[in-house]
Subunit: 153 residues, 2 copies
Amino acid sequence: MFKLSTGFKAGLRALTILAQKGPKTPIPISELTRELSLSDKYLEQLLMALRRAGLVRSVRGANGGFLLAREATKITILDIMTALQGPLAFCDCEAKACGECVRPEIWDALELSMSSSLAMITLYHLASRDPVHVMAQSVVLPDSPVWQDGAGI
Amino acid sequence: MFKLSTGFKAGLRALTILAQKGPKTPIPISELTRELSLSDKYLEQLLMALRRAGLVRSVRGANGGFLLAREATKITILDIMTALQGPLAFCDCEAKACGECVRPEIWDALELSMSSSLAMITLYHLASRDPVHVMAQSVVLPDSPVWQDGAGI
DNA sequence: AATAATCCCAAGTAATCTTATAGGGTATAT
DNA sequence: ATATACCCTATAAGATTACTTGGGATTATT
């Protein structure tokens, strides 16, 4: 479950290159695809999605290309996933009220929990070689009661 | 991103019914599908996956049916998602070493973080009407350095 | 023993989503 | 001017998900 799309992985690798090259010179698609072994047209679509999301900006014309729209420490994994794989939403029913979602408020809680995990890792963490340590993670819920023998809920 | 499959949602609703009816009498598929408006054959496949995962057990023959294999407080969302949507793995490359994954150890950290969130909510939380409070959630990483103007990483 | 209820197993089809390609434009630095 | 590079839309192939179909094995009840 929760597999990353190849589009996301490809876009992320492109962003990593942009982060490593620095925020000064625009990098043309052709240079990115040379390093990534992708077709220009395919990567172009991914970069356009990233641009619409405000993560990269582009310079048109000769010597143009793409660069990060802001520093790598301010671009989170959540930002990138949202741009390339859509928003984090377990169910896209209106106001979480389709008949299929048993307790929508629990989906909300889990989405929030996952979002904050994803928002704490940035493009900097991915593009650098600095060690990463996950220190703690918790979602605290009320204790479940003891199972009543023979009883339902 | 991270949408729940309809199979998962259907299986979860079936589990919710089993939890509410209690652990004594087996509930036949026909009774579950009557409440859920699903075809017997479709729900059957979902229940078989849950059975293979050890979340429900079955009683064959007349008056048979399905019941929870253990108490609802001991069945986590992670268990159910794993059974119905496969294991939580961002990339299914061997040992996280395909050329597409920039920093596999970060995927490991995020998967761990998400797994613990999903493992803290149980079928009891979903099947009951008890209020649920998400109190805290955190993944702590080293601070990102300040962006060096003009420099890459 | 016969019967009806029920779980068990395996394929196969239809619908949907993802991935990737292609063609034709528009803007701009040189 | 012109080459470079971004911008937009359509669509076909492939993979995945959703669902159907057909039959068989097990067991409580009569």
